[in-house]
Amino acid sequence: MQQLDAPEHNYAGPEDTRASCIVFRDVGLIVQGGRAIVDQLSFDIKKGETLVLLGRSGSGKTTTLKLINRLIDLTSGSIVVDGKSTADWDQIRLRRHIGYVIQETGLFPHFTIERNVGLIPGLEGWPREKVTSRVRELLALVGLEPDDFMSRYPAQLSGGQRQRVGVARALAADPPIILMDEPFGALDPITRAELQREFARLANQLNKTIVFVTHDVREALILATRIGLFKDGRLVELATPRDFRQSPEPEAQAFLDSLEEPVR
């Protein structure tokens, strides 16, 4: 796989010949009472790209994310992950095929960092030494000194450190796909910027297919290969960051305007 230097320069456009990793076809979720949470979603996510789902609260972006690993089941259409419809995947196998990172990380407070990160490899039956060395490797990758952190508990870490552990945990069993639900949403701006930089570096290095949900347009522009913009449960724009800046779509403009609001 090719190295990704800068996400913006890497995406080759709609005619890209790389295999589609995740395919949405006319996906909808109608809840009781007939309200559509998301509707008529049709788009492809390419192998190795970082697709950022951007939108306001309640726009359907997080729901869309959870449809992929079936934390929520769709009511119409289909999602194909690596050639197989999610309905045909064994639910547990599907989820272990996909790493998952959420805001506040959801680390298990009663497990050490080592157990948190090594959990899924352990459940997958990896030998213990292999799990340990994998944990060390991943902690080093996310910038945490393994010897210092392995035996600590989540409560003994700062928010930024916990988020790094959350990323390490999602990568543990080397899944080809990572879903990230506002992973940096709860961090202070400085830590957040720091993690965004490192994440961009990681995404280049790891060549994973990443679906990343945020409501922060700045974050989207920094991290995305492409940005998918959600409004009222529909995808209203799907473009590279460069094209996104020129988008005539009013919702895109609204987000871009917020970026340029003067501080004073």
Binding site: I92, R95, T105, G106, F108, P109, H110, I120, Y153, A155
Partner: protein, 516 residues
């Protein structure tokens, strides 16, 4: 100060009984609460998976907990039949009472797990079982343990009532103390029970705290503490179990009702059988009439002292009649044909109901008969034991025959307490027992039953025929007591226990050795 000293002496003198009753008590609590954990935690988990069920299930558990313990025991007796008395119904009752706190806390504990953690676990691809055992149960363990703690402390208290259905435990001391008006005995039951509750509360609280604080600290240590506690609990449980069940196989079970005279008679029967036949005897004392009768029918009790009048009206459900010999012949014949139970020779005394007032009132108002007292009762209060309140030959018939009325409907309370209430002036008339030692001790006066309302209550030992067929020598041994106990003699023996606080076993032994 004197009470403290007496209590300490009691503990020293009766250390074996205190220990054995404490172990019995622990066994009941451990078995009941243990079973409730085994059932309650999975039920709690199920309710988190099927939230629709949680309302009805919690409602049922709630209702169960509001049923008074004596009533619950009462329900269990006919349901369990052959096992209706003893440890089993007590354990079932404690189990039912423990369910609510355990289910509720399991439910609350698991529902209280951070939704983010839960979502992360699901999103990572944990199976339902892995999520439960690796995430939800560990994170709610301190909450669940808090429920177990509440349940156990409640059980320690409730188990004292189990003595009423022959399950043993520290309640034996408490009931005995109430009956004998003996504060030392009450304390002898209450103090170990209270200490046990405190110890359980403290011990489980310690483990609970460990669980909460274990996360940043060394987890191995808390595991060690939990293991030690578990091991200790297991040892106590097993020890208590063996302690309770080391009874010889061929034995005679002697029962008695739950008042002093019956315990003395039970002791007399037990000792006479032991010394004259050498057959081992198991004592199941301090049970109610209904329970004893059930136990005789199911073969759990072989011998106990019964009264002709009680058998005639309360068991055989006949209308009350007079004439001592008639009643004895009728019950003897009917018990044999209906129940396979043999009435042996009467002890020689008539233990009838005695309508009692304070001697001071009797002298001041110049009262000797119930008819005379009926003129004053509209200004009096009355209290009766549960037996007298509900029986055919009890209060209702008496009131009708003598035209008795009181300020308020009579209070129903524990029989022993009515004596205290009368002596203390809280009530003015009670129905006691004509052979009761407390009549003299508390300076009470027995009104004459001038219209002969009460049927005769000749006391006699009754034995299951099956036992007599196997061991005919038992009848011979017991019949050495025939006619040996006059009214006066019985009152003296009762007073030795109630008034002088001597042990029924000792009083019985002295009496037997005084016989030629």
């Amino acid at each position: 100060m004197k009470l403290i000293q007496q209590t300490i002496e009691f503990f020293i003198h009766n250390r074996h009984e205190v220990l054995s009753l404490t172990l019995q008590h622990l066994f009941l609590v451990a078995a009941g609460t243990g079973a409730a954990c085994i059932a309650g935690i999975p039920i709690g988990v199920l309710l988190t998976r099927r939230p629709a069920l949680s309302k009805p299930v919690l409602a049922i558990a709630n209702i169960l907990q509001t049923v008074p313990s004596l009533a619950l025991f009462g329900f269990l007796i006919p349901i369990l039949g052959k096992h209706g008395i003893g440890a089993l119904p007590a354990i079932i009752a404690l189990f039912l009472y423990s369910l609510l706190p355990i289910i509720r806390n399991t439910l609350a504990g698991i529902n209280g797990v951070d939704p983010g953690v839960r979502e992360a676990a699901r999103g990572m691809g944990m199976t339902g079982w892995q999520m439960l055992t690796m995430v939800e149960l560990p994170l709610s363990s301190s909450m669940i343990l808090a429920g177990v703690r509440v349940a156990t402390v409640i059980s320690v208290g409730t188990a004292t009532i189990a003595a009423a259905i022959g399950a043993g435990g520290l309640g034996i001391f408490i009931f005995r103390g109430l009956r004998m008006n003996d504060s030392v005995s009450i304390l002898a039951g209450a103090i170990p029970a209270a200490l046990m509750a405190l110890a359980v509360d403290f011990g489980l609280g310690l483990i609970e705290k460990r669980l909460v604080t274990s996360r940043p600290a060394a987890p191995t240590k808390s595991k060690l503490v939990a293991r030690i506690a578990l091991a200790a609990a297991a040892v106590v449980f097993v020890a208590a179990f063996f302690f309770m069940h080391r009874t010889p196989s061929d034995r005679v079970v002697v029962g008695s009702k739950d008042f002093t005279e019956q315990v003395i008679l039970g002791e007399l029967l037990a000792q006479v059988i032991e010394t004259r036949t050498g057959i081992p005897v198991e004592r199941k004392f301090e049970l109610s009439t209904d329970i004893l009768h059930q136990a005789m029918l199911s073969g759990q009790v072989d011998v106990y002292p019964e009264y002709t009048g009680t058998a005639f009206t309360a068991i055989l459900k006949h209308q009350p009649i007079s004439g001592a010999r008639d009643v004895y012949d009728v019950v003897k014949q009917e018990y044999e044909s209906k129940f396979g139970i043999e009435w042996l020779e009467p002890f020689g005394f008539d233990s009838t109901f005695a309508i009692l007032i304070r001697k001071g009132d009797a002298v001041r108002l110049n009262l000797t008969t119930i008819s005379q007292a009926a003129r004053y009762t509209p200004k009096w209060r009355a209290a009766f034991g549960p037996d007298f309140t509900k029986r055919q030959d009890g209060y209702r018939g008496l009131a009708r025959m003598y035209g008795l009325r009181f300020i308020a409907p009579p209070n129903e309370m524990d029989l022993a307490l009515t004596y205290r209430a009368l002596a203390a002036g809280q009530v003015d008339l009670i129905a006691g027992n004509s052979t009761d030692g407390m009549i003299d001790k508390l300076d009470l006066f027995q009104l004459q039953d001038d219209r002969h309302y009460f049927p005769p209550y000749d006391a006699a030992p009754i034995v299951r025929k099956a036992v007599l067929d196997r061991h005919p020598e038992i009848a011979t041994a017991i019949n050495t007591l025939a006619g040996k106990l006059t009214d006066q003699e019985m009152r003296r023996l009762n007073y030795a226990v109630d008034g002088e606080h001597r042990q029924p076993a000792d009083v019985a032994r002295d009496f037997l050795s005084s016989l030629p």
